[in-house]
Amino acid sequence: MLTTVLFYVFAIILVFSALKVVTSKNPISSVLFLVLAFVTSACLWLMLNVEFLALVLIVVYVGAVMVLFLFVVMMLDIDVETMRKGFWKHLPLAILLGIIVLVEMVLVILNKPMVITGSPEVVSNNISNANQLGWVLYTQYSYPVELASMILLLGLVAAVAITLRKTDKNAKYQDIRKQVSVKASDRFEMINMPAEVEVDNLEPQNKEEVK
C-alpha cells in the first residue's frame, strides 16, 4: 500500500520535472529540474531494492556530471529570444524526427514487451547488492566492462588532446618544481657591511664649521 503510494508520488514528480526540463525558460532551472529527475529516479530504484545503482546514480550523475553541467550553463550567457527565433522554421523537421523516434520505440516495445509481470525474483539479503554486482561485472562481464572503460578513456584522452595545444610560443607556464625548490638564498642575499656615513653630501657651510 505505502509502496504503491510512494511509487506514484515519485513517478509524478519524475514526469513533472522531466517536462519542466524541456519547458522551463531559464536554463539554470532546466538543469535543476534534471537533477530532481535524477534524484527521483534514484528513489524509484531504491524502491526496487537496487540500492547500489541508485546511490551510484546520485554520486556519478547528480554529484559530478550535473554539477559540471550547471557550471557550464551558469557561465553561458543564453539569450532566450535568439534561441526562439528558428522555432517555427525547424518545427516540421523536429516533428518528423520526433515521430520517427516514437514509432521506433513503439515497435521495439510491442515486439518485445519489457514490462515484467509479477514480482521480480527475490535475491537473498545475505549478500549486499554491490557485492553481487561486483561478482557479475568482474567475472562474467569483465571484457565488456573493460571495453566500455577503454572507450571512456579514449574519449577522455581525445578531449584532452584536442584542447591541450601548446602552440602559443609566448604562453607562460608555471614550472612547479622550480617554484617549490626555490630557496631564500636565491631570492635575496644578506650582506655584512659597515655603516656608511655620507660625509660628501654634507652642506659646505657645515664643512667649514667642521674645519
Binding site: L2, I28, L32, V35, V39, E51, F52, L55, V56, I58, V59, V62, G63, A64, V67, L68, L70, F71, M74, S128, N129, A130, Q174, I176
Partner: protein
C-alpha cells in the same frame, strides 16, 4: 519502540519512534557544533596569544547562543536582482545534506539511526549533493564575488571528492564491506588483535593522510578556503547572505567538519574501539567515549591548521588534488590489492 507501537498502532508507533530518534541524534550534534564554533574562537585566540570570547556566561560558555540569537534577530537582506527562490533554498539544501548524512553514521554498535548496507555509498551520495547548495548560493546572489566563490568551490569540491572516494575505496577493499559497523569491527580483528596497531591508519597511512587533507579541502576550510578567500572575493559564495541564512551556512560547514572527523575516526582510527588491547579491562573496552575523543582530536586539527597554514594558491590546490593525491591513492589501491592476495595479508 514496542510500547509506542502498542499504543499508537504499528505504522504510527514506528514513525514516532524514528522521529524521536532523529531528534535525539540531531539535537546533540547541533549543540556540539555550536560548541565547536566556540572552541574554534577560543583556540584561535590562544594560538594568537589573546583570550578569545570570554564575556557571555561563565568563561564565555554561553557565547554560541549569543551568536545564534544575534543571527536570528538580524535582518534578512535579499539582493534586488537575486533569483529569490533559489537564493533562499540554497542554504537550506546545504544544511539538509549536512544533516541527512548523519542518518547512517553509527555512534556505537547499537546507536545508529538506520542500518544501511551501503552506508559508505549513501554518505558519498548525499555529501556530493551538498555542492549544489554552494553553487546555487554563489549563482543566485547575482554578485560577481559570490559567483566566483561558487565556481571555485565547485571545482575544488569535485576534484577532492575523487581523491577522497579513492581513499575510501582502500578502506572498503581491506574491510570487504560498505557497512560502517562492519568496517569498525574489521579493525578489531587481524594480526595485531584489536589495539591501536590493528586500525586501518597504519596499513593505509597514505590514504589516511589523503582523506584528512581532502576532508579539509571538501569542507572549504583553511588553508583550502579560497572559495571564501576574504582578501580577494570578500567572503565568497555567501557574500550576499545575512542573518539566519548566513547562520545556516556556518552550521552546515561545521556539521561537515564534524562529519569528516567522525568518518575518519570510523574508517581509519577504529571508531569506538579502544586504543588499548581488549585484555586491559575497562580502558580496553570499546565505547562511544573513544569515538568522541577521536573526533575531538581531529577537530582540534581542523582548527590548528587554520591558525597555522597560509592559504594555498588556487592552481596549487588543483595540482595537489589531481596530480598528487589521485596518483597516490591509485597506486596504494594496487599495493593494498596485491597485499591482500599475498601471503603477507595481515587482515585475517
Amino acid at each position: 519502540m514496542e510500547t509506542l507501537q502498542h499504543v499508537l498502532g504499528n505504522a504510527w508507533g514506528y514513525f514516532i519512534w524514528k522521529l524521536l530518534m532523529a531528534i535525539a541524534i540531531v539535537l546533540p550534534i547541533t549543540i556540539f557544533v555550536a560548541y565547536v564554533t566556540f572552541a574554534e574562537r577560543k583556540l584561535l585566540g590562544y594560538m594568537h596569544a589573546r583570550l578569545g570570547a570570554n564575556r557571555v556566561g561563565p568563561k564565555g560558555l554561553l557565547q554560541p547562543f549569543a551568536d545564534l540569537f544575534k543571527f536570528v534577530f538580524k535582518e534578512l537582506i535579499m539582493p534586488t536582482k537575486a533569483s529569490g527562490g533559489i537564493f533562499s533554498f540554497a542554504p537550506v539544501l546545504l544544511l539538509i545534506c549536512a544533516i541527512l548524512v548523519w542518518a547512517v553514521v553509527p555512534f556505537s554498535p547499537e546507536l545508529v539511526f538506520t542500518h544501511v548496507n551501503a552506508a559508505v555509498l549513501y554518505i558519498l551520495a548525499i555529501s556530493s549533493l551538498g555542492v549544489y547548495g554552494i553553487v546555487l548560493a554563489g549563482w543566485s546572489g547575482n554578485s560577481k564575488y559570490s559567483f566566483l566563490g561558487g565556481v571555485r568551490a565547485t571545482a575544488q569540491m569535485i576534484s577532492y571528492e575523487l581523491a577522497m572516494g579513492f581513499a575510501i575505496v582502500g578502506v572498503l577493499m581491506v574491510s570487504g564491506t560498505l557497512d560502517l559497523n562492519g568496517i569498525v569491527n574489521g579493525q578489531a580483528q587481524g594480526m595485531m588483535g584489536g589495539s591501536i596497531l590493528s586500525w586501518n591508519w597504519i596499513p593505509l597511512f597514505p590514504m589516511f593522510l589523503v582523506y584528512l587533507i581532502s576532508g579539509v579541502a571538501e569542507t572549504n576550510r583553511a588553508p583550502f578556503d579560497v572559495c571564501e578567500g576574504e582578501s580577494e572575493i570578500v567572503a565568497g559564495f555567501f557574500v550576499e547572505y545575512s542573518g539566519t541564512k548566513f547562520a545556516l551556512f556556518m552550521l552546515a560547514e561545521y556539521l561537515n567538519m564534524v562529519l569528516i572527523s567522525a568518518l575518519a575516526s570510523l574508517m581509519f582510527l577504529g571508531g569506538w574501539l579502544s586504543p588499548f588491547p581488549v585484555s586491559w579491562g575497562l580502558i580496553g573496552s570499546a565505547g562511544f567515549i573513544w569515538l568522541f575523543i577521536k573526533v575531538c582530536i581531529l577537530l582540534f586539527g581542523f582548527i590548528w591548521y587554520r591558525a597555522t597554514f597560509p592559504r594555498y594558491r588556487y592552481d596549487q590546490i588543483m595540482r595537489l588534488g589531481w596530480k598528487v593525491f589521485l596518483p597516490i591513492t591509485l597506486i596504494w589501491i594496487f599495493v593494498v590489492g596485491a597485499w591482500i592476495v599475498s601471503p603477507l595479508n595481515i587482515w585475517h
